[in-house]
Symmetry: C2
Subunit: 379 residues, 2 copies
Amino acid sequence: MTRRNYIFAPGPVTVPPQVLAATAKPIIHHRSADFDPLFAKVCEGLKYVFQTKNPVVTFASSGTGAMEAAVVSTASPGERVVSLEAGKFGERWGDIAKAYGLAVERKQCEWGRSVDPQIVADELKQHPETKAIYMELCETSTATLENVKGVAEITRNTDTLLAVDAVSGLCAEELRMDEWGVDLVAAGSQKALMLTPGLGFVAVSEKARQAIAKSTAPKFYFSIGKALKELEKNTTPFTPAVSLLFGLEVALDMIREEGIENVWKRHARLAAAARSAVKAMNLELFSQNPASTCTAVKTPEGIDSGKVVKGLKEMGITIAGGQGQLKGKIFRFATLGWYNEYDVLTIIAAVEKVMQKLGHKFESGAGVSAAMAFFEANA
Amino acid sequence: MTRRNYIFAPGPVTVPPQVLAATAKPIIHHRSADFDPLFAKVCEGLKYVFQTKNPVVTFASSGTGAMEAAVVSTASPGERVVSLEAGKFGERWGDIAKAYGLAVERKQCEWGRSVDPQIVADELKQHPETKAIYMELCETSTATLENVKGVAEITRNTDTLLAVDAVSGLCAEELRMDEWGVDLVAAGSQKALMLTPGLGFVAVSEKARQAIAKSTAPKFYFSIGKALKELEKNTTPFTPAVSLLFGLEVALDMIREEGIENVWKRHARLAAAARSAVKAMNLELFSQNPASTCTAVKTPEGIDSGKVVKGLKEMGITIAGGQGQLKGKIFRFATLGWYNEYDVLTIIAAVEKVMQKLGHKFESGAGVSAAMAFFEANA
């Protein structure tokens, strides 16, 4: 038969056919009344997945664009900001801040561990003028869940903003923007939102909106201030990616039907089963505080993780390797978005095959059995 | 029957069903070998439509994002640039330049006329240090074709860059980037490229690439320098809008099959027929140098052009009104992209109906007859 391809990467993800079909609907004009109900509906749906009553602005961009918008819309050149960096995506915050002339303190933390919120407490004590803390929800390069709630407890009653990169984590990890007191949450469409890539989102708290009013960093396309102004009129400053919004409408309906807390729980359960399976294959997890977004596995000495990625690719299965200092040392897979128990069995079975081929020793079927046992015990 | 909707706006446009269908294909991972042939092919196809051997970079963004990329990637704060502004989209260049602290000379020119290249010659004589000239290919707000070739003759042997906003005009108007000596051409997907919105493009000359190496304007997402570096490896710095690239592949195949010169000719012929029809309805064109991209029609005294737009919308037909100083005074329609003779008859017949309803006097059928006569005389 024609080869069937599978994506188990931590984004992009398998897009449900009903979402794909919606993206192919005949185009409508975004400056006409046809656009109003669609945009109003997706904006409401986004608030639900961000767990916020605050506005969420949408850009035609990748998730990085959304992160840039969060930085340039709230800060001014020379202002002090702190970037918590325990992986490649944490570093992105620092890179953006540097590009715009902010006085960025880059806190290089150990990869594979959650950043200790005490670091933020100390920073704010010594430097209460700090404009913003930038952090991850899930550091995708190490598959580590960060402690957003813990950091928000420190920032929420200060003048310092908390900006969270939830590009990979949104909908996969618990995130309660308003309840926790997060100020800016950036996200992208091609992860647990189950969509094709091309949309970036930023949710914006009242405190962040006050910062936006004072920000002098240069910006045009990624001005959240401009986007918020147009949002009041239920539109966007520049042409939105309408076909992706059609898909988003369907994806958000699916999430609402399942319920966001159930979506979080499903991701947690699938990831926990995957971790049981990994251990049963005599493999070690990379992260000390593993995320539900994806799973990072160390390859045993002598096995380059690139070979695992390549071996799976030859079978039609896409996962991800290690980035930066982890290149060759870990592989990462995910059941992110529209995935279920059977998908976990699929990727684990495929990993078993490849690891055996590469000479790693374990009992055949051990991974899949462990995952099934986990599902049964945690029904 | 269920109402059939038509788009005759100067973008977004009717997207061919084969293009829509391609955008709904199962997603592939952009950091895997699956992406390579797709991206290589669309990059080659883009060179063809821009008529250039230079690289064309692609952003997940609207056309405005592409314009911003052209500005921030080549200029440095304080540098003198000249923005030729004879309409709303010309003004956008000036707005972007201002946002990034350039010393922008905004040449306010008469709306509805092409900007005289002599203005540029005088500017460069007085200020040879001018870093860039920003202009339109088609000023969409007035439906006016600008003289890119004429301006390029002045800039091409100087150190001054010529950046052209071809967001609406690409594929609709003759544009020979290399032959004419244009340095930066910005475009978007949702016009004569026949795609849904969400992709921005910038073609970059050798002279522009030299400027990029020296530019100090702050940038991250919209760095053309970064995009060019990744383009050498046949990829993009940030997650591309893959599903739109699937559609682009099909759209570019369609353009190549017709031939870019034939595509230009078809747009010119349809627009000329539309203008004959407009005159036959006793209506006046707004532009002194009308574009092929779209047609702007003055409404007779006492008829607010907003009523024409609204009347057509009630019939399921989307066109555009006047913007800025032209609000209420003109309406604009287009056969931009995947349109033919019958589409011209459709929009003209609909305009006839609405104008009669609004009390404008002319012989019923005069517009449609004039268009048919034009097509026969110009087969």
